[in-house]
Structure formats: structure tokens, C-alpha cells
């Protein structure tokens, strides 16, 4: 390895050591907070006030019970979050694939104009239309309802773009032609030939849409502001912050944060390879 050393650069061995040190430090920065969260969720309030210990305590079940019987309806919140996120993921991937298929497989007037238009609106954030959106939802009588959080995900330009890219590389139009010759209707072709071929892309985008919706705080907080039973987890977390938290049982507070963070971590660890390669595919315009 020594021979690789040149006058200006480090030797490859030294570079490797530096790389590992930086990577281990960054790993520490990424994981440390969750480690402390896990430890503290297992400790009682009295124990927590004595300072930090690196080993877990014995109050996990106590904290769990006080969270369940606490003032914030966390289970309800988790169910609401899950329902909204799952519906959004299904609608978003199904209809984005359908939109991408429309652009990919057919020719019609203004097709290219529509495609360019969708690309242009891709980066416009939802926050800038939030005012008009909540006024519209209010007029429709859909405040404190999940519909305005689920249905708009049908028009998801980013998911559409990913599907379009994926289709260009994996869906030859000959398949569609063959299906036509076999007498398959266009709708049938889409559902039973195109969708199965898009499975990998759909899975990646379903995960991202699910996580995006699960974590979303801005819009749900405006829509679900008054009905306690409809609130999603991020709104409950914000309420926890606004509460007079010094009077709270800190073990319970840590348990609630853990309750909203750890499910995502567990799912992520199971699907991580998939997700990381999905990011790389989506980010770079091929």
C-alpha cells in the first residue's frame, strides 16, 4: 500500500483510516439520539431527573401504561396517521402510474404540453397554496375530515415523474400491442399487464408517499385542528410540546416520542436496501 503514496496525497491506508473515523463519527451523530430516546423511554421520571445513564431502566411497562392512560390519544393518532398515509400511498401510486401510462403509451393533442406542465409544477410546495386549499376545504365542509388529506395525493407530480422514467426503461410498447391483439381492453391492459410490470417502482414510491404523509405536519394541522379524535401523530406531538411539559412525567414523554419514531425505524431497517437504491434512482434524471 505504501507505493500508492504520492508527494501530495495521503497514502491509501491513511485515507481509509480517515474515512472510517469520519463514517463512525457520523454514524454516532445519526444514532446517538435514538439510543438516548430508547434508554430514557425505559426509565421512570424520578430516575430520569438523576441524570443520564447508558443502560436501560426497568420502567418500560410503567411508561407504556401511563402513555396509554394519558391525556393524548396516541393510539387513535397512530391509527389516523396510518389510515391517511396508507390511502395516500395507494391512490398516489395507482393514479400516478396511470398518468405516466397515459403520457407514455398514447398520442393525443397537447400531450407534450401537459408533460412539460407537470414537470414545471413538480417543485411547487403545498404550503404556497395552503390558504386557498383550506378555504376551499372549508367551503366544501370537509374540515376535520381525512378526504382533503388523501384525495389530493392522486395528483402527485413527483411520483408521476418517477413512474414515467421507470416506464421508459422497462415497458416496451410491444407488450401493449400484443395485449391489444389478444383483445384485452385498454383498462384491463393497464391493470393486469402494466401495473404488475411496474411493481418495483410502485413499491419504492408507495414507501416514500407513505412516509411523507405519515410525517406531514403542516397541512394536517390546518385541516384537523378542532376534532380531537381525527388528529394524526405529528399534531399530537406538537400538542405535547405546547402542554406544560415540565409537569409531565418525562418517562411518559419519552415513551410517546419513541412510539412515533420507532415504528418507522423498524420498517426502514427491514426495507433499507430497497429504499436507499430507490433514492438514487429517483434523484437523477436518467
Amino acid at each position: 500500500m505504501r507505493e500508492n503514496k504520492t508527494s501530495k496525497g495521503f497514502g491509501i491506508g491513511a485515507r481509509r483510516v480517515i474515512a472510517y473515523i469520519v463514517l463512525i463519527f457520523l454514524t454516532f451523530l445519526c444514532l446517538f439520539w435514538f439510543y438516548v430516546l430508547f434508554i430514557n423511554a425505559t426509565r421512570s421520571n424520578a430516575n430520569l431527573s438523576k441524570g443520564f445513564t447508558p443502560l436501560p431502566g426497568v420502567s418500560f411497562m410503567d411508561n407504556w401504561n401511563s402513555m396509554i392512560h394519558g391525556t393524548l390519544p396516541v393510539f387513535n393518532g397512530m391509527f389516523n396517521s396510518f389510515f391517511v398515509a396508507a390511502c395516500s400511498a395507494i391512490l398516489s401510486t395507482y393514479f400516478s402510474t396511470m398518468t405516466a401510462y397515459a403520457i407514455h403509451a398514447y398520442n393525443f393533442k397537447y400531450k407534450n404540453a401537459i408533460f412539460t406542465f407537470i414537470l414545471m409544477i413538480m417543485t411547487i410546495p403545498t404550503q404556497v397554496t395552503a390558504l386557498g386549499f383550506i378555504r376551499l376545504v372549508d367551503k366544501m365542509g370537509l374540515m376535520n375530515n381525512f378526504i382533503p388529506l388523501i384525495v389530493p395525493s392522486i395528483a402527485a407530480p413527483v411520483v408521476f415523474f418517477y413512474m414515467k422514467q421507470y416506464m421508459e426503461s422497462t415497458l416496451p410498447l410491444a407488450f401493449v400491442e400484443a395485449a391489444r391483439i389478444d383483445g384485452s381492453s385498454e383498462f384491463h391492459t393497464f391493470n393486469f399487464i402494466v401495473l404488475p410490470m411496474m411493481k418495483p417502482a410502485i413499491a419504492v414510491q408507495a414507501i416514500f408517499t407513505f412516509v411523507g404523509s405519515w410525517n406531514n405536519y403542516f397541512t394536517p394541522a390546518l385541516i384537523l385542528s378542532t376534532d380531537e379524535k381525527k388528529k394524526t401523530l405529528p399534531i399530537l406531538i406538537a400538542q405535547l410540546r405546547s402542554a406544560d411539559w415540565l409537569k409531565f412525567d418525562m418517562g411518559q414523554v419519552y415513551m410517546m416520542i419513541a412510539f412515533s419514531i420507532f415504528p418507522v425505524i423498524v420498517v426502514y431497517l427491514i426495507l433499507s436496501r430497497f429504499i436507499v437504491s430507490g433514492v438514487a434512482l429517483g434523484g437523477v434524471k436518467g
Binding site: A19, L23, A102, T129, G132, L136, L240, V276, V279
Partner: protein, 323 residues
């Protein structure tokens, strides 16, 4: 390619059943429009109409004076003049920008470094998959819960203070969230943690796209890894760097969850001090949910829309020029 294929197909059908041809093609393509309809309808109703009505609201005086709603009264550019005359806008824009820059600079440096290491075949890093998994993890964490976690960890009686005192680094507790720069620093640090993994993966994909022959040629010429990085990788990565920069800036403008939760929506690290961590979107949220000033909310939204549109246009130009 696709078009050519379709043309061939058309010609084929033409020879087979000349009379049927026109009718058939039209009836197929009708389905393109049908498949496009759900997207178009939902977009029109839930995004375009809200956008237009937001723009309309921006020209009206329309707010809650505490008892009932005042307006809507048409004020032309009155709200815009008010928005720019009030220096708060520049304070919030400044806060947003400062916290974004504080997070983005370490983010881009670390990401470039990691991307170079991960894609360097000579380095042969072990466990690269593990490291990639770990650095991407914070991106998927619920930002509001993550901010709540940091709030408890960095509170005066929290574990971070306790650890730092045990290590002898601090002689007494430091109230991180009562001070301007430590609060901004925490927001920036969290943004860094949540986004550097994502940026690393994007840059890596970009580096993988560089022709390996260039690296081999440089190696033959005796270039050091530093030279290779600055003379080959960096210039060739420029389009993707611009993409990362602008999309991160667009994301930065939307900064909301973390400072909102950390400061309980006040934007004040210390109660009563200046609004040093109030971001533009936190201000918008205030207009929408607390003060119900729909006129000003509209004006602020239009301003943000214009800024994002300009930035998006740059992204669009950069990423289409690449092809």
C-alpha cells in the same frame, strides 16, 4: 424512440386494414385522455383553484380583528406594500436563510466527501451498505417528533447537559433553547442530519455516472486523489450540484416543522426576545391558524410562490440541458 415505434406500428396497421386504421388509432388514443383525467381533475380542484384563490386573496384586505372578519375589501397592491414596508418579512427571510446556510454548508461538504469515498474503487470501504443505511435513516424520521426529541434532550435538565457535565466539558447546565444562536444551531444541525444522507446518495449516483476511463487516465498520469476530486469529479458533477443546491434551497424555504416544534411556534428562543428563529412558513402558519389574516397570508404565499417558481425554473433548465 417511442414515437418512431408507434409510427411503424401505425404503418403496419395501415397495410393490414386500411379502412379501419383511422378509427382504431383514435379510439386507442382516447384512452390516453381518459387515463389522464383523474390527475387533471384532482390537480385542478385541489391545487390550481387553491393557487388562483390564494393569488386573489393577496389583493384583498381580509382578516379577523378578534370579534369578526373584516373584509374582504379590494386593496389592489395594498398588502404587498404593507408586506415590504414591514421589516419583519426581511427578518423572517433572513432567519430562514441563515438556518438553511448553517445546515447546507456542512451538508454539501460531508456529502461530497462521503460520495467520493463510497464511489472510489481503490478505497474499498467495508460495510458501505451499513453506513449508507445509517446516514439515510434520519431523513425518514417524523420531523416534528425528532424536534420534540431534541427539545427534551437539549433542555436544561436533559441528558445532553447531564452528559456534558459528567464529561467535565460544562461546569453548569446550558439552556440551549433559551439562546438565539444555540437554537438556530440546533435547527441547522437537525436539517443537516436529516438531509446529508439523501444528498450523499444523489451525489454518489452522479459520480457513478462519470466515465471510469477518465479516472483511469488520471491515474496513469499520476494524479493524486485530491487532484482527481477537484479536477475531474467536481467539474463533471456541476449540474447535479446545482440541482442539489437549488432543490435544497426550495426545501429550506419551506422550513417549518423543526423550528415550529422547538420554539412552540413562537420563533423565540427566549420569551420576549426578537423573533430570531421565526421562518417564513412559520409566519404563514401564524397568519393562517392564529391571526386568521387571509389577505396577508395570500400575499406572503404569492411571494413564496414567485421565489420557488424562479428557483424551479433554474432546476428545470439545468436538468433538461444535461440530456
Amino acid at each position: 424512440m417511442a414515437k418512431e415505434k408507434e409510427k411503424n406500428q401505425e404503418q403496419k396497421t395501415e397495410t393490414v386494414k386500411v379502412q379501419n386504421k383511422n378509427k382504431k388509432v383514435v379510439s386507442y388514443n382516447k384512452w390516453g385522455i381518459i387515463f389522464l383525467l383523474p390527475f387533471v381533475i384532482v390537480y385542478l380542484v385541489f391545487q390550481l383553484i387553491p393557487l388562483v384563490s390564494t393569488i386573489v386573496y393577496s389583493f384583498f384586505e381580509y382578516y379577523d380583528d378578534g370579534l369578526d372578519m373584516v373584509g374582504p375589501n379590494f386593496k389592489a397592491f395594498g398588502n404587498y406594500i404593507k408586506l415590504f414596508a414591514n421589516k419583519d418579512l426581511f427578518v423572517y427571510a433572513g432567519n430562514t436563510l441563515i438556518m438553511w446556510i448553517m445546515g447546507f454548508i456542512p451538508q454539501i461538504i460531508i456529502s461530497l466527501l462521503l460520495a467520493a469515498w463510497f464511489s472510489d474503487p481503490r478505497l474499498r470501504l467495508k460495510a458501505a451498505g451499513f453506513f449508507k443505511t445509517v446516514i439515510y435513516l434520519p431523513n425518514l424520521i417524523m420531523a416534528s417528533a425528532f424536534a420534540m426529541l431534541f427539545f427534551t434532550l437539549f433542555s436544561k435538565t436533559g441528558p445532553v447537559n447531564s452528559i456534558l457535565m459528567d464529561l467535565g466539558l460544562f461546569s453548569e447546565e446550558y439552556a440551549f433553547l433559551d439562546h438565539e444562536w444555540s437554537t438556530r444551531g440546533l435547527v441547522a444541525f437537525m436539517n443537516f442530519l436529516m438531509w446529508f444522507g439523501n444528498t450523499t446518495i444523489l451525489l454518489m449516483a452522479g459520480m457513478m455516472g462519470i466515465d471510469p476511463a477518465l479516472f483511469e487516465a488520471a491515474e496513469v498520469d499520476g494524479a493524486t486523489s485530491t487532484q482527481v476530486f477537484f479536477r475531474i469529479s467536481l467539474p463533471l458533477l456541476r449540474p447535479i450540484l446545482v440541482y442539489v443546491l437549488i432543490t435544497s434551497l426550495i426545501g429550506g424555504l419551506q422550513m417549518f416543522d423543526v423550528p415550529q416544534i422547538l420554539t412552540k411556534g413562537t420563533g423565540n428562543p427566549l420569551m420576549g426576545s426578537n423573533l430570531t428563529t421565526m421562518t417564513l412558513i412559520m409566519n404563514l402558519n401564524r397568519h393562517l391558524s392564529v391571526s386568521k389574516n387571509y389577505g396577508m397570508a395570500g400575499t406572503l404565499s404569492v411571494l413564496l410562490f414567485i421565489i420557488t417558481a424562479i428557483l424551479s425554473f433554474i432546476v428545470f433548465k439545468v436538468s433538461t440541458r444535461k440530456d
